[in-house]
């Protein structure tokens, strides 16, 4: 069913460049670390954090488009054995103690037996911006590009789960994929969702991304899409769903992707919570300045536009504000088209370039649910939820 040819991709991935960015202030759009840029097969050059397992970040310039191109979309794996899955041989198993009618579905059956839907949504790694934490914390040192926005097409998970006749005692749905660890002793990558989030109409088993089949490195032939929730739940190369009457105790739920309990806003995952820690769940309201690039020199008197993206966990963005006077006063940016409440929203703002000198810009987004970005980072030891007010230092000359 699965081949291991994917393992040998590494020799083909060429080094392209290495460059160093200067360290910058909190909230600014540089990581302060060495950046290596390299291309995986089928991808354009991305910022390489690790080649095995592959962890590649989308460069800032590739986050400018309304939908992030598939060949520029970030890649994130925990485990090194990543098979190329034959879509004709692929099967999805649905079962577990709370599924009264276990199913096996081919891709063909999935596409023809269920309603097809498309959801535009941000996929953001829980650890996006970890590399910007001060003090620094261990883990993949992501800058801003552990995220992207895409149109995900597939079928509703709930339609599939209903066919498996879930019993009333169901508590969590557990998902695993075809990728695996080198050592049998390493826990496989499996994640769970509260059963109500699994049954949400927006949670998909997706097989297309931006109108094309899912790229290999983004979970072909089918992956879970959980709009509004961190990327860790979007299990790639999905092969197995189990509906269970008890909380899942796998390593990637109990031993990782956890934040201090009661500190951050967002949906609680109660069956996985302890008095000390709780799983990362929803994406917090956030923004990103895409241009001008950090440290740009803007020509005096020439029009210059600040632009970027704002998003949250699914309430939608109602306002983006810009300050150019050290956060004393804020003015509204112009919002771009509403691509859907789980997608990001573009914003634009005309910068005043009439006077020469340094330009310090701050940006904050407001969600429809009334949340905004904090001024200071809420430190947590695993480096999640960096949604502080974004800043840009430029110069008018």
């Amino acid at each position: 069913m699965l081949t291991r040819r994917g393992l040998l991709w590494a020799g083909a991935g060429g080094w392209l460049a290495a460059r160093t960015y200067a360290a910058d202030s909190p909230g600014a759009v540089t990581s302060g670390t060495e950046e290596v840029v390299a291309a995986l097969p089928g991808k354009r050059p991305l910022i390489q954090h690790a080649f095995r397992p592959p962890n590649f970040e989308t460069p800032l310039a590739d986050l400018a488009a309304p939908f992030t191109p598939n060949n520029a979309f970030f890649v994130r794996y925990h485990l090194a054995l990543i098979p190329e899955v034959d879509p004709l041989q692929w099967r999805l198993q649905v079962g577990g103690a709370s599924a009264q009618r276990p199913l096996t579905l081919s891709l063909q059956e999935l596409k023809h037996d269920f309603t097809l839907v498309t959801v535009p949504a941000v996929n953001q790694c829980a650890g996006n911006r970890r590399g910007l934490f001060a003090p620094r914390v261990p883990g993949v040192q992501w800058g801003n590009g552990g995220m992207g926005n895409a149109r995900w097409r597939g079928v509703r998970l709930r339609d599939v789960l209903r066919r498996s006749e879930i019993s009333a005692d169901a508590v969590e749905a557990v998902f695993s994929g075809a990728d695996s660890a080198v050592l049998p002793s390493t826990p496989g990558f499996a994640k769970s969702l509260p059963v109500d989030r699994a049954l949400d109409e927006n949670t998909l088993i997706a097989f297309e991304m931006n109108g094309e089949p899912l790229p290999h490195w983004n979970g072909a032939p089918a992956r879970l899409v959980v709009p509004g929730w961190a990327g860790t739940y979007w299990v790639k190369h999905l092969t197995d769903i189990r509906i269970e009457p008890k909380p899942f105790d796998g390593f990637w739920m109990k031993g990782g992707y956890r934040i201090p309990t009661g500190v951050f806003p967002g949906r609680r995952f109660v069956t996985q919570e302890t008095p000390e820690t709780t799983p990362v769940t929803e994406i917090l309201v956030n923004s990103l300045i895409v241009s001008p690039a950090p440290g740009s020199r803007l020509q005096r008197g020439r029009p210059a536009q600040l632009s970027g993206k704002a998003w949250d966990g699914g309430s939608g963005i109602v306002r983006v504000e810009v300050s150019v006077d050290g956060r004393q006063s804020w003015r509204a940016a112009t919002l771009g088209a509403d691509l859907g409440r789980f997608a990001w929203r573009e914003f634009h703002y005309a910068l005043d370039t009439s006077r020469a000198g340094p330009l310090q810009v701050a940006v904050r987004a407001h969600s429809r649910s009334g949340a905004t970005q904090p001024d200071k980072l809420i430190f947590n030891p695993s480096g999640y939820h960096d949604n502080i007010v974004q800043t840009l230092a430029a110069e008018v000359a």
Partner: protein
């Protein structure tokens, strides 16, 4: 790198295969600054560290994490690899690896 991996004594075939894949890749990469930063500092314990770590992952994780690490955090990391991820590392090897990482990749600034 490949020769070093082969000198490490007992390594199961599957693990050796993984190591060789990494080594082949390293050999294929052109000499540049980019390759330098994936090569670990040459000091006692490096061969053992490379040999054990690349069973599961490339060594880029080590310099990339150095700014967040001190001896205590490397100890936690090595322990996690052994206990949570089942890395085949003996007590004696773990000490050598920890000494190497603590001496070469502990750039955490004290508060």
């Amino acid at each position: 790198m490949m020769r070093r991996a082969a000198r490490l004594g007992w390594v199961p075939a599957a693990l050796l295969c993984a190591a060789v894949c990494s080594a082949l890749w390293a050999d294929a990469a052109p000499a540049s600054r980019a390759t330098e930063i994936t090569q670990l500092k040459d000091s006692p314990g490096r061969d053992l560290t490379v040999g054990r770590c690349i069973i599961c992952h490339s060594v880029e994780y080590i310099p990339a994490n150095a700014p967040a690490m001190d001896r205590a955090s490397w100890q936690k990391s090595v322990q996690k690899m052994r206990e949570r991820f089942g890395a085949p590392i003996t007590d004696d090897e773990a000490k050598q690896i920890l000494d190497y990482l603590a001496a070469n990749y502990s750039d955490k600034k004290s508060p």
